[in-house]
Symmetry: C2
Subunit: 331 residues, 2 copies
Protein backbone atom coordinates (compact mmCIF):
# COMPACT_ATOMS: atom_id res chain seq x y z
CA UNK A 1 0.00 0.00 0.00
CA UNK A 2 1.21 3.52 -0.77
CA UNK A 3 2.09 5.35 2.41
CA UNK A 4 -0.81 7.38 3.71
CA UNK A 5 -0.66 11.03 4.71
CA UNK A 6 -3.35 10.44 7.35
CA UNK A 7 -3.53 7.36 9.53
CA UNK A 8 -7.24 7.75 10.21
CA UNK A 9 -9.94 9.92 8.67
CA UNK A 10 -13.09 10.11 10.78
CA UNK A 11 -16.55 11.02 9.52
CA UNK A 12 -19.35 11.68 11.96
CA UNK A 13 -21.83 13.94 13.64
CA UNK A 14 -19.96 17.00 14.90
CA UNK A 15 -21.35 17.64 18.38
CA UNK A 16 -20.59 19.68 21.48
CA UNK A 17 -21.45 17.78 24.66
CA UNK A 18 -23.18 19.39 27.64
CA UNK A 19 -22.59 17.32 30.78
CA UNK A 20 -24.69 17.53 33.94
CA UNK A 21 -24.96 15.25 36.95
CA UNK A 22 -28.40 13.82 37.72
CA UNK A 23 -29.76 11.14 40.01
CA UNK A 24 -31.46 8.00 38.70
CA UNK A 25 -34.92 9.43 39.42
CA UNK A 26 -34.28 12.17 36.87
CA UNK A 27 -34.02 9.49 34.16
CA UNK A 28 -36.90 7.39 35.45
CA UNK A 29 -39.34 10.27 35.70
CA UNK A 30 -38.60 11.23 32.08
CA UNK A 31 -38.64 7.69 30.67
CA UNK A 32 -35.02 7.92 29.61
CA UNK A 33 -33.19 4.63 29.07
CA UNK A 34 -29.87 4.69 30.88
CA UNK A 35 -26.80 4.33 28.71
CA UNK A 36 -28.59 5.01 25.43
CA UNK A 37 -28.40 7.79 22.84
CA UNK A 38 -31.72 9.36 21.91
CA UNK A 39 -32.31 11.93 19.16
CA UNK A 40 -34.34 14.94 20.22
CA UNK A 41 -35.62 17.98 18.36
CA UNK A 42 -34.87 21.56 19.26
CA UNK A 43 -37.94 22.24 21.47
CA UNK A 44 -37.35 19.02 23.39
CA UNK A 45 -33.71 19.99 23.74
CA UNK A 46 -34.67 23.35 25.23
CA UNK A 47 -37.13 21.74 27.63
CA UNK A 48 -34.63 19.16 28.87
CA UNK A 49 -31.84 21.74 29.13
CA UNK A 50 -34.08 23.94 31.27
CA UNK A 51 -34.55 21.05 33.70
CA UNK A 52 -30.87 20.05 33.84
CA UNK A 53 -28.46 21.37 36.43
CA UNK A 54 -25.43 23.54 35.60
CA UNK A 55 -23.41 22.07 32.75
CA UNK A 56 -19.90 21.63 31.49
CA UNK A 57 -19.33 21.98 27.74
CA UNK A 58 -16.74 19.79 26.02
CA UNK A 59 -16.37 18.96 22.33
CA UNK A 60 -17.70 15.53 21.51
CA UNK A 61 -19.16 13.54 18.63
CA UNK A 62 -18.37 9.84 18.46
CA UNK A 63 -15.99 9.73 15.47
CA UNK A 64 -14.52 13.12 16.42
CA UNK A 65 -13.65 11.73 19.85
CA UNK A 66 -11.93 8.79 18.16
CA UNK A 67 -10.00 11.10 15.85
CA UNK A 68 -8.92 13.32 18.77
CA UNK A 69 -7.71 10.14 20.46
CA UNK A 70 -5.73 9.00 17.41
CA UNK A 71 -4.06 12.43 17.31
CA UNK A 72 -3.34 12.25 21.05
CA UNK A 73 -1.48 8.98 20.44
CA UNK A 74 0.61 10.88 17.90
CA UNK A 75 -1.26 9.63 14.83
CA UNK A 76 -2.01 11.79 11.80
CA UNK A 77 -5.74 12.34 11.66
CA UNK A 78 -8.42 14.15 9.67
CA UNK A 79 -12.14 14.65 10.18
CA UNK A 80 -15.26 15.49 8.17
CA UNK A 81 -18.29 16.76 10.08
CA UNK A 82 -20.67 19.68 9.98
CA UNK A 83 -20.92 22.52 12.47
CA UNK A 84 -22.39 25.97 11.97
CA UNK A 85 -20.13 29.04 12.11
CA UNK A 86 -21.47 29.83 15.60
CA UNK A 87 -19.77 29.89 19.00
CA UNK A 88 -20.15 26.17 19.65
CA UNK A 89 -18.99 25.43 16.11
CA UNK A 90 -15.88 27.54 16.71
CA UNK A 91 -15.21 25.64 19.92
CA UNK A 92 -15.64 22.30 18.19
CA UNK A 93 -13.25 23.27 15.38
CA UNK A 94 -10.71 24.76 17.78
CA UNK A 95 -10.61 21.66 19.91
CA UNK A 96 -9.91 19.35 16.96
CA UNK A 97 -7.38 21.70 15.37
CA UNK A 98 -5.67 22.22 18.74
CA UNK A 99 -5.26 18.45 18.94
CA UNK A 100 -3.52 18.54 15.54
CA UNK A 101 -6.42 17.18 13.50
CA UNK A 102 -7.00 18.38 9.95
CA UNK A 103 -10.64 19.58 9.96
CA UNK A 104 -11.78 21.92 7.22
CA UNK A 105 -15.38 20.97 6.50
CA UNK A 106 -17.24 24.11 5.39
CA UNK A 107 -19.05 25.84 8.28
CA UNK A 108 -22.23 27.60 7.09
CA UNK A 109 -23.21 30.97 8.53
CA UNK A 110 -26.92 30.13 8.34
CA UNK A 111 -29.17 27.24 9.13
CA UNK A 112 -29.46 25.11 12.26
CA UNK A 113 -27.09 25.62 15.18
CA UNK A 114 -24.14 23.38 15.95
CA UNK A 115 -25.30 20.06 17.35
CA UNK A 116 -25.48 19.52 21.09
CA UNK A 117 -25.79 16.39 23.15
CA UNK A 118 -27.24 16.79 26.62
CA UNK A 119 -25.44 14.08 28.55
CA UNK A 120 -26.81 13.08 31.92
CA UNK A 121 -24.26 11.43 34.20
CA UNK A 122 -25.74 9.25 36.95
CA UNK A 123 -23.86 8.47 40.18
CA UNK A 124 -22.75 5.09 38.74
CA UNK A 125 -20.79 6.90 36.01
CA UNK A 126 -23.17 5.82 33.25
CA UNK A 127 -24.17 8.42 30.67
CA UNK A 128 -27.50 8.91 28.93
CA UNK A 129 -27.34 11.05 25.82
CA UNK A 130 -30.02 13.30 24.34
CA UNK A 131 -28.80 14.66 21.04
CA UNK A 132 -30.09 17.58 19.00
CA UNK A 133 -28.36 17.08 15.64
CA UNK A 134 -28.75 20.63 14.29
CA UNK A 135 -26.08 21.53 11.74
CA UNK A 136 -24.55 18.05 11.83
CA UNK A 137 -27.65 16.84 9.97
CA UNK A 138 -26.45 18.69 6.91
CA UNK A 139 -23.28 16.72 6.28
CA UNK A 140 -23.57 15.68 2.64
CA UNK A 141 -21.55 14.09 -0.17
CA UNK A 142 -20.32 17.61 -1.05
CA UNK A 143 -18.37 17.56 2.24
CA UNK A 144 -16.43 14.42 1.30
CA UNK A 145 -13.03 15.69 0.19
CA UNK A 146 -11.86 12.98 -2.19
CA UNK A 147 -8.17 13.81 -1.92
CA UNK A 148 -8.25 13.39 1.85
CA UNK A 149 -10.05 10.05 1.67
CA UNK A 150 -7.55 8.80 -0.88
CA UNK A 151 -4.64 9.82 1.37
CA UNK A 152 -6.02 8.18 4.55
CA UNK A 153 -5.02 4.66 5.60
CA UNK A 154 -8.39 3.99 7.27
CA UNK A 155 -11.64 5.90 6.81
CA UNK A 156 -13.63 5.43 10.01
CA UNK A 157 -17.35 6.20 10.19
CA UNK A 158 -19.95 6.16 12.93
CA UNK A 159 -23.25 4.32 12.61
CA UNK A 160 -25.05 7.41 13.86
CA UNK A 161 -24.57 8.90 10.37
CA UNK A 162 -27.04 6.35 9.09
CA UNK A 163 -29.91 8.26 10.67
CA UNK A 164 -29.89 10.96 7.97
CA UNK A 165 -30.14 10.35 4.21
CA UNK A 166 -27.56 12.96 3.16
CA UNK A 167 -25.03 11.83 5.76
CA UNK A 168 -25.65 8.24 4.67
CA UNK A 169 -24.82 9.22 1.10
CA UNK A 170 -21.67 10.97 2.31
CA UNK A 171 -20.72 7.80 4.15
CA UNK A 172 -21.26 5.57 1.13
CA UNK A 173 -19.33 7.92 -1.13
CA UNK A 174 -16.39 8.03 1.27
CA UNK A 175 -16.36 4.23 1.55
CA UNK A 176 -16.36 3.88 -2.26
CA UNK A 177 -13.58 6.43 -2.66
CA UNK A 178 -11.50 4.78 0.04
CA UNK A 179 -11.68 1.36 -1.58
CA UNK A 180 -11.07 2.81 -5.03
CA UNK A 181 -7.84 4.33 -3.64
CA UNK A 182 -6.83 0.97 -2.17
CA UNK A 183 -7.52 2.12 1.38
CA UNK A 184 -9.55 0.58 4.20
CA UNK A 185 -12.86 1.36 5.82
CA UNK A 186 -14.04 1.02 9.37
CA UNK A 187 -17.42 1.34 11.05
CA UNK A 188 -18.64 1.58 14.60
CA UNK A 189 -22.21 0.45 15.23
CA UNK A 190 -22.49 3.36 17.72
CA UNK A 191 -25.51 2.38 19.82
CA UNK A 192 -27.91 -0.54 20.12
CA UNK A 193 -30.95 1.61 19.34
CA UNK A 194 -29.09 2.78 16.24
CA UNK A 195 -28.57 -0.89 15.28
CA UNK A 196 -32.26 -1.56 15.86
CA UNK A 197 -33.16 1.31 13.51
CA UNK A 198 -30.84 0.14 10.72
CA UNK A 199 -30.17 -3.55 11.21
CA UNK A 200 -30.70 -4.74 7.65
CA UNK A 201 -28.84 -1.92 5.97
CA UNK A 202 -25.96 -2.20 8.46
CA UNK A 203 -25.64 -5.89 7.56
CA UNK A 204 -25.65 -5.03 3.86
CA UNK A 205 -23.05 -2.35 4.45
CA UNK A 206 -20.77 -4.62 6.48
CA UNK A 207 -21.03 -7.51 4.02
CA UNK A 208 -20.51 -5.06 1.15
CA UNK A 209 -17.08 -4.17 2.44
CA UNK A 210 -16.31 -2.83 5.88
CA UNK A 211 -12.78 -3.89 6.76
CA UNK A 212 -12.77 -3.19 10.50
CA UNK A 213 -15.94 -3.29 12.57
CA UNK A 214 -16.28 -1.93 16.12
CA UNK A 215 -19.24 -2.89 18.30
CA UNK A 216 -20.01 -3.56 21.92
CA UNK A 217 -21.62 -6.82 22.97
CA UNK A 218 -25.13 -5.39 23.01
CA UNK A 219 -24.81 -3.87 19.55
CA UNK A 220 -23.37 -7.02 17.97
CA UNK A 221 -26.07 -9.16 19.62
CA UNK A 222 -28.78 -6.89 18.21
CA UNK A 223 -27.16 -6.88 14.78
CA UNK A 224 -27.27 -10.67 14.53
CA UNK A 225 -30.37 -11.09 16.68
CA UNK A 226 -28.68 -13.59 18.93
CA UNK A 227 -28.73 -13.80 22.70
CA UNK A 228 -25.27 -15.21 23.11
CA UNK A 229 -22.02 -13.29 22.61
CA UNK A 230 -20.26 -16.33 21.12
CA UNK A 231 -22.97 -16.75 18.52
CA UNK A 232 -22.48 -13.11 17.52
CA UNK A 233 -18.73 -13.68 17.35
CA UNK A 234 -19.17 -16.66 15.04
CA UNK A 235 -21.49 -14.66 12.80
CA UNK A 236 -19.36 -11.56 12.50
CA UNK A 237 -16.13 -13.40 11.62
CA UNK A 238 -17.64 -14.31 8.26
CA UNK A 239 -18.93 -10.82 7.53
CA UNK A 240 -15.88 -8.57 7.87
CA UNK A 241 -12.13 -8.89 7.93
CA UNK A 242 -11.58 -7.68 11.47
CA UNK A 243 -14.12 -7.20 14.26
CA UNK A 244 -13.23 -5.58 17.59
CA UNK A 245 -15.95 -6.34 20.12
CA UNK A 246 -15.92 -4.55 23.46
CA UNK A 247 -17.46 -5.88 26.68
CA UNK A 248 -16.98 -3.02 29.19
CA UNK A 249 -15.12 -4.26 32.29
CA UNK A 250 -14.79 -7.71 30.70
CA UNK A 251 -12.38 -6.31 28.11
CA UNK A 252 -12.59 -7.00 24.40
CA UNK A 253 -12.41 -9.76 21.85
CA UNK A 254 -10.77 -9.22 18.49
CA UNK A 255 -11.51 -11.62 15.71
CA UNK A 256 -9.94 -11.94 12.27
CA UNK A 257 -10.91 -15.10 10.45
CA UNK A 258 -9.57 -17.95 12.57
CA UNK A 259 -7.55 -15.59 14.77
CA UNK A 260 -9.19 -14.62 18.10
CA UNK A 261 -7.61 -12.40 20.78
CA UNK A 262 -9.13 -11.82 24.19
CA UNK A 263 -7.76 -8.66 25.83
CA UNK A 264 -8.66 -7.67 29.41
CA UNK A 265 -9.90 -4.19 30.28
CA UNK A 266 -7.31 -1.72 31.54
CA UNK A 267 -7.88 -1.16 35.29
CA UNK A 268 -9.61 2.07 36.29
CA UNK A 269 -9.98 3.30 39.88
CA UNK A 270 -13.45 4.76 39.44
CA UNK A 271 -15.74 5.20 36.42
CA UNK A 272 -16.51 8.93 36.62
CA UNK A 273 -18.23 9.23 33.24
CA UNK A 274 -18.53 6.42 30.71
CA UNK A 275 -18.92 8.84 27.79
CA UNK A 276 -16.44 8.09 25.02
CA UNK A 277 -15.32 4.64 26.19
CA UNK A 278 -16.10 3.00 22.85
CA UNK A 279 -14.81 5.98 20.87
CA UNK A 280 -11.47 5.95 22.61
CA UNK A 281 -11.18 2.18 22.38
CA UNK A 282 -11.43 2.64 18.61
CA UNK A 283 -8.81 5.41 18.77
CA UNK A 284 -6.23 3.20 20.46
CA UNK A 285 -7.05 0.24 18.25
CA UNK A 286 -6.80 2.23 15.01
CA UNK A 287 -3.63 3.98 16.10
CA UNK A 288 -2.03 0.59 16.74
CA UNK A 289 -3.46 -0.90 13.54
CA UNK A 290 -2.16 1.92 11.34
CA UNK A 291 1.24 1.61 13.00
CA UNK A 292 1.70 -2.06 12.24
CA UNK A 293 0.89 -3.47 15.67
CA UNK A 294 -0.52 -6.95 16.14
CA UNK A 295 -4.23 -7.21 16.90
CA UNK A 296 -3.74 -8.00 20.61
CA UNK A 297 -1.60 -4.88 20.99
CA UNK A 298 -4.24 -2.86 19.14
CA UNK A 299 -6.75 -4.10 21.72
CA UNK A 300 -4.45 -3.16 24.60
CA UNK A 301 -3.98 0.36 23.24
CA UNK A 302 -7.76 0.64 22.88
CA UNK A 303 -8.31 -0.56 26.44
CA UNK A 304 -5.78 1.95 27.76
CA UNK A 305 -7.42 4.89 25.99
CA UNK A 306 -10.91 3.81 27.08
CA UNK A 307 -9.77 3.60 30.71
CA UNK A 308 -8.32 7.12 30.56
CA UNK A 309 -11.48 8.67 29.16
CA UNK A 310 -13.89 7.09 31.65
CA UNK A 311 -11.81 8.31 34.60
CA UNK A 312 -12.98 11.92 34.06
CA UNK A 313 -15.92 13.91 32.69
CA UNK A 314 -15.83 14.31 28.90
CA UNK A 315 -15.14 12.12 25.90
CA UNK A 316 -11.80 13.60 24.87
CA UNK A 317 -8.48 12.52 26.41
CA UNK A 318 -7.19 14.80 29.19
CA UNK A 319 -3.61 13.60 28.89
CA UNK A 320 -1.26 12.81 26.02
CA UNK A 321 -2.21 9.24 25.16
CA UNK A 322 1.23 8.80 23.57
CA UNK A 323 2.92 9.53 26.91
CA UNK A 324 0.31 7.53 28.78
CA UNK A 325 0.93 4.50 26.55
CA UNK A 326 4.71 4.85 26.88
CA UNK A 327 4.31 5.05 30.65
CA UNK A 328 2.46 1.72 30.55
CA UNK A 329 5.01 0.11 28.24
CA UNK A 330 2.61 -0.13 25.31
CA UNK A 331 4.54 2.17 22.95
CA UNK B 1 -33.68 44.72 59.61
CA UNK B 2 -36.65 43.72 57.49
CA UNK B 3 -36.30 40.17 56.28
CA UNK B 4 -34.67 39.99 52.89
CA UNK B 5 -36.00 38.02 49.93
CA UNK B 6 -32.45 37.41 48.71
CA UNK B 7 -29.53 36.64 50.97
CA UNK B 8 -26.96 37.81 48.48
CA UNK B 9 -27.17 39.79 45.24
CA UNK B 10 -24.01 39.61 43.14
CA UNK B 11 -22.97 42.10 40.48
CA UNK B 12 -20.08 41.33 38.19
CA UNK B 13 -18.63 40.55 34.79
CA UNK B 14 -20.65 37.69 33.31
CA UNK B 15 -18.07 35.37 31.76
CA UNK B 16 -17.79 31.87 30.35
CA UNK B 17 -14.44 30.28 31.20
CA UNK B 18 -12.43 28.23 28.71
CA UNK B 19 -9.95 25.99 30.54
CA UNK B 20 -6.89 24.41 28.97
CA UNK B 21 -3.83 22.76 30.47
CA UNK B 22 -0.45 24.28 29.59
CA UNK B 23 3.09 23.89 30.85
CA UNK B 24 5.00 26.72 32.53
CA UNK B 25 6.93 27.45 29.32
CA UNK B 26 3.68 28.41 27.61
CA UNK B 27 3.28 31.27 30.12
CA UNK B 28 6.95 32.27 30.09
CA UNK B 29 7.22 32.46 26.32
CA UNK B 30 4.16 34.75 26.19
CA UNK B 31 5.16 36.95 29.14
CA UNK B 32 2.08 35.93 31.10
CA UNK B 33 2.25 36.42 34.88
CA UNK B 34 1.13 33.25 36.62
CA UNK B 35 -1.94 33.59 38.83
CA UNK B 36 -3.02 36.96 37.44
CA UNK B 37 -6.01 38.15 35.44
CA UNK B 38 -5.20 40.10 32.31
CA UNK B 39 -7.69 41.89 30.06
CA UNK B 40 -7.28 41.18 26.36
CA UNK B 41 -9.04 42.46 23.27
CA UNK B 42 -10.79 40.29 20.71
CA UNK B 43 -7.89 39.85 18.25
CA UNK B 44 -5.55 38.92 21.10
CA UNK B 45 -8.19 36.52 22.38
CA UNK B 46 -8.38 34.81 19.00
CA UNK B 47 -4.61 34.57 18.75
CA UNK B 48 -4.22 33.05 22.21
CA UNK B 49 -7.16 30.69 21.70
CA UNK B 50 -5.58 29.43 18.47
CA UNK B 51 -2.42 28.52 20.40
CA UNK B 52 -4.21 26.86 23.33
CA UNK B 53 -4.93 23.16 23.48
CA UNK B 54 -8.46 21.68 23.52
CA UNK B 55 -10.67 23.41 26.07
CA UNK B 56 -13.45 22.80 28.54
CA UNK B 57 -16.15 25.47 28.80
CA UNK B 58 -17.72 26.21 32.20
CA UNK B 59 -19.66 29.27 33.31
CA UNK B 60 -17.55 31.61 35.41
CA UNK B 61 -17.29 35.28 36.36
CA UNK B 62 -16.06 36.09 39.85
CA UNK B 63 -19.25 37.36 41.50
CA UNK B 64 -21.34 34.86 39.53
CA UNK B 65 -19.22 32.03 40.95
CA UNK B 66 -19.84 33.41 44.43
CA UNK B 67 -23.56 33.63 43.82
CA UNK B 68 -23.69 30.07 42.45
CA UNK B 69 -21.89 29.02 45.63
CA UNK B 70 -24.37 30.85 47.89
CA UNK B 71 -27.21 29.07 46.08
CA UNK B 72 -25.43 25.72 46.39
CA UNK B 73 -25.34 26.24 50.18
CA UNK B 74 -29.12 26.72 50.00
CA UNK B 75 -29.06 30.51 50.11
CA UNK B 76 -31.41 32.71 48.10
CA UNK B 77 -29.38 34.54 45.51
CA UNK B 78 -29.69 36.98 42.62
CA UNK B 79 -27.26 38.28 40.03
CA UNK B 80 -26.83 41.24 37.67
CA UNK B 81 -24.40 40.84 34.77
CA UNK B 82 -24.37 41.26 31.01
CA UNK B 83 -24.21 38.54 28.42
CA UNK B 84 -25.27 38.66 24.78
CA UNK B 85 -28.18 36.52 23.57
CA UNK B 86 -25.69 34.13 21.95
CA UNK B 87 -24.87 30.48 22.68
CA UNK B 88 -22.38 31.23 25.44
CA UNK B 89 -24.80 33.75 26.93
CA UNK B 90 -27.51 31.09 26.99
CA UNK B 91 -25.14 28.69 28.70
CA UNK B 92 -24.19 31.29 31.30
CA UNK B 93 -27.83 32.10 32.07
CA UNK B 94 -28.84 28.44 32.17
CA UNK B 95 -26.11 27.55 34.62
CA UNK B 96 -27.12 30.28 37.09
CA UNK B 97 -30.84 29.61 36.74
CA UNK B 98 -30.27 25.86 37.08
CA UNK B 99 -28.52 26.59 40.38
CA UNK B 100 -31.65 28.46 41.53
CA UNK B 101 -30.28 31.97 41.07
CA UNK B 102 -32.57 34.80 39.97
CA UNK B 103 -30.81 36.25 36.90
CA UNK B 104 -32.83 38.38 34.49
CA UNK B 105 -30.45 41.06 33.24
CA UNK B 106 -31.47 41.97 29.68
CA UNK B 107 -29.51 40.05 27.04
CA UNK B 108 -29.01 42.09 23.86
CA UNK B 109 -29.22 40.43 20.44
CA UNK B 110 -26.54 42.70 19.01
CA UNK B 111 -23.18 44.04 20.03
CA UNK B 112 -20.13 42.25 21.39
CA UNK B 113 -20.21 38.54 22.17
CA UNK B 114 -20.55 37.06 25.64
CA UNK B 115 -17.33 37.49 27.59
CA UNK B 116 -14.78 34.70 27.68
CA UNK B 117 -11.83 34.08 29.93
CA UNK B 118 -9.09 31.87 28.54
CA UNK B 119 -7.78 30.17 31.68
CA UNK B 120 -4.45 28.41 31.49
CA UNK B 121 -3.95 25.76 34.16
CA UNK B 122 -0.32 24.91 34.92
CA UNK B 123 0.73 21.57 36.45
CA UNK B 124 0.87 23.19 39.93
CA UNK B 125 -2.88 23.88 39.74
CA UNK B 126 -2.40 27.65 39.41
CA UNK B 127 -4.54 29.47 36.87
CA UNK B 128 -3.65 32.40 34.67
CA UNK B 129 -6.62 34.24 33.22
CA UNK B 130 -6.87 36.12 29.93
CA UNK B 131 -10.23 37.81 29.73
CA UNK B 132 -12.04 39.27 26.75
CA UNK B 133 -14.84 41.29 28.37
CA UNK B 134 -17.14 41.55 25.33
CA UNK B 135 -20.78 42.02 26.30
CA UNK B 136 -20.00 42.19 30.01
CA UNK B 137 -18.46 45.62 29.33
CA UNK B 138 -21.93 46.96 28.69
CA UNK B 139 -23.36 46.47 32.16
CA UNK B 140 -24.77 49.87 33.07
CA UNK B 141 -26.90 51.60 35.71
CA UNK B 142 -29.97 50.67 33.61
CA UNK B 143 -29.30 47.03 34.56
CA UNK B 144 -29.51 47.75 38.29
CA UNK B 145 -32.99 46.57 39.29
CA UNK B 146 -33.76 48.69 42.30
CA UNK B 147 -36.39 46.38 43.77
CA UNK B 148 -33.95 43.47 43.81
CA UNK B 149 -31.22 45.51 45.51
CA UNK B 150 -33.70 46.68 48.13
CA UNK B 151 -34.76 43.10 48.84
CA UNK B 152 -31.22 41.70 49.19
CA UNK B 153 -29.50 41.36 52.56
CA UNK B 154 -26.03 41.89 51.06
CA UNK B 155 -25.15 43.34 47.65
CA UNK B 156 -21.79 41.88 46.67
CA UNK B 157 -19.68 43.38 43.90
CA UNK B 158 -16.39 42.48 42.26
CA UNK B 159 -13.52 44.94 41.90
CA UNK B 160 -13.18 43.92 38.26
CA UNK B 161 -16.25 46.07 37.53
CA UNK B 162 -14.12 49.12 38.26
CA UNK B 163 -12.32 48.72 34.94
CA UNK B 164 -15.24 50.11 32.92
CA UNK B 165 -16.96 53.46 33.54
CA UNK B 166 -20.55 52.27 32.97
CA UNK B 167 -20.09 49.21 35.18
CA UNK B 168 -18.53 51.44 37.82
CA UNK B 169 -21.62 53.64 37.72
CA UNK B 170 -23.85 50.57 38.04
CA UNK B 171 -21.79 49.49 41.02
CA UNK B 172 -22.07 52.90 42.73
CA UNK B 173 -25.80 53.08 42.08
CA UNK B 174 -26.38 49.63 43.54
CA UNK B 175 -24.34 50.49 46.64
CA UNK B 176 -26.36 53.69 47.18
CA UNK B 177 -29.67 51.88 46.71
CA UNK B 178 -28.62 49.11 49.09
CA UNK B 179 -27.72 51.50 51.85
CA UNK B 180 -30.83 53.60 51.24
CA UNK B 181 -32.88 50.41 51.79
CA UNK B 182 -30.99 49.68 55.01
CA UNK B 183 -29.06 46.80 53.45
CA UNK B 184 -25.35 45.99 53.37
CA UNK B 185 -22.67 46.11 50.72
CA UNK B 186 -19.68 43.91 50.09
CA UNK B 187 -16.71 44.15 47.76
CA UNK B 188 -13.96 41.80 46.64
CA UNK B 189 -10.74 43.42 45.48
CA UNK B 190 -10.59 40.69 42.80
CA UNK B 191 -6.93 40.77 41.73
CA UNK B 192 -3.74 42.58 42.71
CA UNK B 193 -3.30 44.12 39.24
CA UNK B 194 -6.88 45.36 39.56
CA UNK B 195 -5.94 46.95 42.90
CA UNK B 196 -2.89 48.53 41.28
CA UNK B 197 -5.09 50.08 38.58
CA UNK B 198 -7.62 51.51 41.03
CA UNK B 199 -5.94 51.87 44.41
CA UNK B 200 -7.06 55.38 45.29
CA UNK B 201 -10.66 54.99 44.19
CA UNK B 202 -10.93 51.59 45.90
CA UNK B 203 -9.81 53.23 49.15
CA UNK B 204 -12.38 56.01 48.69
CA UNK B 205 -15.04 53.43 47.96
CA UNK B 206 -14.21 51.28 50.99
CA UNK B 207 -14.02 54.26 53.35
CA UNK B 208 -17.23 55.63 51.84
CA UNK B 209 -19.14 52.60 52.99
CA UNK B 210 -18.32 49.01 52.12
CA UNK B 211 -19.55 46.83 54.97
CA UNK B 212 -17.75 43.59 54.18
CA UNK B 213 -14.46 43.52 52.29
CA UNK B 214 -12.85 40.42 50.77
CA UNK B 215 -9.21 40.40 49.72
CA UNK B 216 -6.28 38.05 49.59
CA UNK B 217 -3.02 38.97 51.26
CA UNK B 218 -1.42 40.27 48.06
CA UNK B 219 -4.40 42.48 47.24
CA UNK B 220 -4.68 43.97 50.72
CA UNK B 221 -0.91 44.64 50.81
CA UNK B 222 -1.11 46.48 47.48
CA UNK B 223 -4.16 48.42 48.63
CA UNK B 224 -2.33 49.81 51.67
CA UNK B 225 1.11 49.75 50.08
CA UNK B 226 2.58 47.82 52.97
CA UNK B 227 4.89 44.83 52.88
CA UNK B 228 3.62 43.17 56.01
CA UNK B 229 0.29 41.37 56.34
CA UNK B 230 -0.21 42.59 59.92
CA UNK B 231 0.23 46.20 58.87
CA UNK B 232 -2.46 45.70 56.24
CA UNK B 233 -4.70 44.12 58.88
CA UNK B 234 -4.27 47.09 61.20
CA UNK B 235 -5.07 49.49 58.37
CA UNK B 236 -8.17 47.74 57.08
CA UNK B 237 -9.83 47.38 60.51
CA UNK B 238 -10.34 51.14 60.56
CA UNK B 239 -11.69 51.34 57.03
CA UNK B 240 -14.58 48.88 56.93
CA UNK B 241 -16.80 47.03 59.35
CA UNK B 242 -15.71 43.52 58.45
CA UNK B 243 -12.71 42.38 56.44
CA UNK B 244 -12.14 38.76 55.42
CA UNK B 245 -8.56 38.28 54.32
CA UNK B 246 -7.54 35.03 52.68
CA UNK B 247 -4.02 33.58 52.68
CA UNK B 248 -4.30 30.47 50.47
CA UNK B 249 -3.08 27.37 52.35
CA UNK B 250 -2.49 29.51 55.47
CA UNK B 251 -6.25 29.98 55.87
CA UNK B 252 -7.91 33.31 56.54
CA UNK B 253 -8.12 36.11 59.04
CA UNK B 254 -11.39 37.85 59.74
CA UNK B 255 -11.34 41.20 61.45
CA UNK B 256 -14.18 43.30 62.82
CA UNK B 257 -13.05 46.20 64.96
CA UNK B 258 -11.25 44.65 67.91
CA UNK B 259 -12.44 41.15 67.02
CA UNK B 260 -9.95 38.97 65.08
CA UNK B 261 -10.52 35.35 64.00
CA UNK B 262 -7.86 33.16 62.47
CA UNK B 263 -9.36 30.21 60.58
CA UNK B 264 -7.22 27.46 59.03
CA UNK B 265 -7.65 26.35 55.43
CA UNK B 266 -9.81 23.30 54.81
CA UNK B 267 -7.56 20.38 53.80
CA UNK B 268 -7.48 19.49 50.11
CA UNK B 269 -5.78 16.39 48.69
CA UNK B 270 -4.52 18.06 45.50
CA UNK B 271 -5.03 21.51 44.02
CA UNK B 272 -6.28 20.64 40.52
CA UNK B 273 -7.29 24.17 39.49
CA UNK B 274 -7.15 27.21 41.77
CA UNK B 275 -9.79 29.08 39.75
CA UNK B 276 -12.61 30.31 41.98
CA UNK B 277 -10.93 29.80 45.36
CA UNK B 278 -11.54 33.39 46.47
CA UNK B 279 -15.00 33.48 44.89
CA UNK B 280 -16.13 30.39 46.74
CA UNK B 281 -14.57 31.53 49.99
CA UNK B 282 -16.81 34.60 49.71
CA UNK B 283 -19.79 32.34 48.97
CA UNK B 284 -19.37 30.32 52.15
CA UNK B 285 -18.66 33.39 54.20
CA UNK B 286 -21.69 35.32 52.93
CA UNK B 287 -23.97 32.32 53.28
CA UNK B 288 -22.93 32.01 56.92
CA UNK B 289 -23.12 35.74 57.50
CA UNK B 290 -26.65 36.07 56.10
CA UNK B 291 -27.72 33.10 58.21
CA UNK B 292 -26.62 34.57 61.50
CA UNK B 293 -23.41 32.60 61.96
CA UNK B 294 -20.49 33.97 63.95
CA UNK B 295 -17.54 35.26 61.97
CA UNK B 296 -15.31 32.25 62.68
CA UNK B 297 -18.02 29.94 61.34
CA UNK B 298 -18.39 32.17 58.30
CA UNK B 299 -14.67 31.72 57.70
CA UNK B 300 -14.96 27.93 58.09
CA UNK B 301 -17.80 27.77 55.57
CA UNK B 302 -15.71 29.87 53.20
CA UNK B 303 -12.70 27.61 53.63
CA UNK B 304 -14.83 24.52 52.97
CA UNK B 305 -16.26 25.93 49.74
CA UNK B 306 -12.84 27.12 48.53
CA UNK B 307 -11.38 23.65 49.13
CA UNK B 308 -14.15 22.02 47.12
CA UNK B 309 -13.71 24.27 44.10
CA UNK B 310 -9.92 23.91 43.83
CA UNK B 311 -10.17 20.12 43.87
CA UNK B 312 -11.54 20.08 40.28
CA UNK B 313 -11.43 22.08 37.06
CA UNK B 314 -13.87 25.01 37.01
CA UNK B 315 -14.96 27.75 39.39
CA UNK B 316 -18.44 26.46 40.18
CA UNK B 317 -19.16 23.87 42.88
CA UNK B 318 -19.52 20.28 41.59
CA UNK B 319 -21.39 19.07 44.65
CA UNK B 320 -24.17 20.47 46.82
CA UNK B 321 -22.28 22.71 49.24
CA UNK B 322 -25.19 22.40 51.69
CA UNK B 323 -24.71 18.62 51.87
CA UNK B 324 -20.94 18.99 51.87
CA UNK B 325 -21.11 21.39 54.84
CA UNK B 326 -23.52 19.11 56.72
CA UNK B 327 -21.19 16.19 56.08
CA UNK B 328 -18.40 18.19 57.73
CA UNK B 329 -20.56 19.25 60.65
CA UNK B 330 -20.59 22.91 59.65
CA UNK B 331 -24.35 23.18 59.04
Amino acid sequence: MRSAEFDVLGIGNAIVDVFARVDDDFLVSRDLTKGMMRLIDEPEGHALYAQMGPGVEISGGSAANTIAGVASFGGKAAYFGKVKADQLGEIFAHDLNAQGVRFETHRPLDGPATARSLILITPDGERTMNTFLGASNNLSPADVEEAIVARSHVTYMEGYLWDRPSAREAFKLAARLAHRAGRQTSLTLSDSFCVERHRESFLDLIRGGIDILFANEKEIAWLYQVGDFDDALQAVRHDCEIAALTRSEAGCVIVKGEEVHVVPAHPVAKVVDATGAGDLFAAGFLYGYTHGRGLADCGRLGALAAAEVISHVGARPEVSLAEHARHHGLL
